[in-house]
């Protein structure tokens, strides 16, 4: 790790103010940031530890929804009785990822803010536009089997690795943010991350100094909640493809640099179209960039299977 100074944030406002400085990184669970710092992909001059700020509560909201503090751990969320009973999708998504050791530290906001696991983002001997803007994309034409098939660009084909984000997108959840002046703003989880375009290093729509304080989840729609994840091994692996369903709403993971709401599929189904049409509508634009071609039929089958299951159709 490059040298840095360490301090502990004493208030949310102070943490937000500090984070406006590009040489500052906020440290919560640290399970992604410290790994990146060891590899010198992240080289902050100043670490502000927010781990002890009072943002850990998981509470029911008056509208029948849920508010998850930014610093609630994966374990705390997945073990919460309300989450398990009313939002099993959230619990399933979290429990499908990482190990218990990591879930005991990793936080809700940290999960959303984690960086891509594209092998070339981690390989500092190779070009990567996300790591070094303008240096090129090694995944295009390289070993890209874990990379994206939707919303990619000529500059980057990485995917966002969060399972939680996929579940929250199917649930129409929002992130609640604040800045150093105390201005509270919310935005849909589905709009938090940016597609790479020509500037893959710009990863979210958060302004400098704007930090996530909570995730708010509206009451779940009637209908089954489903999370299915295909990966290289049965446990402790990132999704190759995942699909979340919350009643009539669907989202895909492992396909893009953001959780991918299957709006086109939902529109076809709402208009009375069949499952195959709905799946084709979402994935007709998919591109596999060589090694990722297998993801297209995989995503089609998994989305189709989850839609059928959620509608009670025979598989």
């Amino acid at each position: 790790m490059k040298p840095f100074t360490y301090e502990r944030a004493t208030s949310v406002a102070d943490a937000a103010k500090a984070s406006a400085d590009p040489s500052v990184r906020l440290l919560a669970g640290g399970t992604n940031l410290l790994d990146l710092m060891k590899l010198q992909i992240e080289t902050p001059a100043r670490i502000v530890d927010i781990g002890r700020l009072p943002l850990k509560d998981i509470t029911e909201t008056p509208d029948g929804g849920l508010r998850i503090g930014a610093l609630a751990t994966s374990t705390a969320i997945a073990s919460d009785p309300v989450v398990r009973a009313r939002y099993p999708l959230i619990a399933r998504a979290l429990l499908s990822g990482a190990s218990v050791q990591l879930r005991n530290k990793a936080t809700a906001a940290g999960n959303l803010m984690q960086r891509t696991r594209c092998a070339y983002f981690y390989d500092t001997t190779k070009p990567c536009n996300r790591r070094i803007p303008g240096s090129g994309c090694s995944a295009i034409g390289g070993h890209s089997r874990a990379d994206g098939i939707l919303g990619t660009s000529a500059a980057c084909i990485a995917v966002h690795p969060s399972d939680l984000a996929v579940a929250l997108t199917a649930l129409d959840a929002h992130v609640e943010t604040t800045n150093g002046q105390g201005t509270v703003r919310t935005l849909p989880v589905a709009d938090l991350h940016r597609l790479p375009g020509a500037s893959p290093h710009l990863e979210t729509d958060l302004a400098p100094g704007q930090i996530i304080t909570a995730i708010t989840v509206p009451p779940a729609p009637p209908g089954e909640q489903i999370f299915r994840k295909v990966r290289d091994r049965a446990s402790f692996a990132f999704a190759l493809i995942s699909v979340a369903a919350s009643g009539p709403r669907y989202a895909l993971g492992g396909v893009a640099m953001k959780p991918w709401r299957a709006s086109a599929s939902e529109a076809v189904l709402a208009a009375g179209g069949d499952v195959d049409e709905a799946v084709a509508a979402e994935l007709s634009q998919a591109r596999g960039h060589g090694h990722g071609e297998y993801k297209i039929p995989l995503a089609k089958r998994l989305l189709g299977a989850v839609i059928r299951q959620s509608r009670g159709d025979a598989a």
Partner: protein
Amino acid sequence: MRKESAVSATSDLCVHGLAGLHVGGGPALTQVIDIELIVNGRLTSLSLDPRVTLLDALREHLNLTGTKKGCDQGQCGACTVLVNGMRINSCLSLAAMHDGQAITTIEGIAPGENELHHIQAAFIERDAFQCGYCTPGQIVSAVAMLDELAAGQPSQAAEDLSAAPVLTDAELRERMSGNLCRCSAYPHIFAAIRDVAGA
């Protein structure tokens, strides 16, 4: 009580190649942090470079070398310790983050000086290791896993997330998936934990 100087903190980091930055008169450290950890029940004071991980603080500063450094990336579980009773990867945590917290390592897992924890005894009985490098992490992890089970924490192996978990074979494998064994002593590790947990 043990105090390390900033100088030895620097040299430790160099010796182990973690920073690779201060060899031969490189830039001076900008910060030394004073922290207190309660390690295996004993209050311990340390002065550290903020880069020192909890794992390196235990191994290199407190000479508690039972906790192992495997991948140093949070993937293998060899560095598993308990923080306030919860298992974490000590390699992916800064020591400074744990100021004032209670750390339990493999050295402190037994109930007394001349006793073994049931899990430790079962590992010996079942010959649940080959090279032994992952063993401390496996044992600490298994101890925590049984506590999590008793507390009713769910895993992805559960059919019903709201039901009290039962340690089926699938549950046991899932709950221990954060600890890898390159010798693949899994059948015996599994048997040892099963002996303690009950069928």
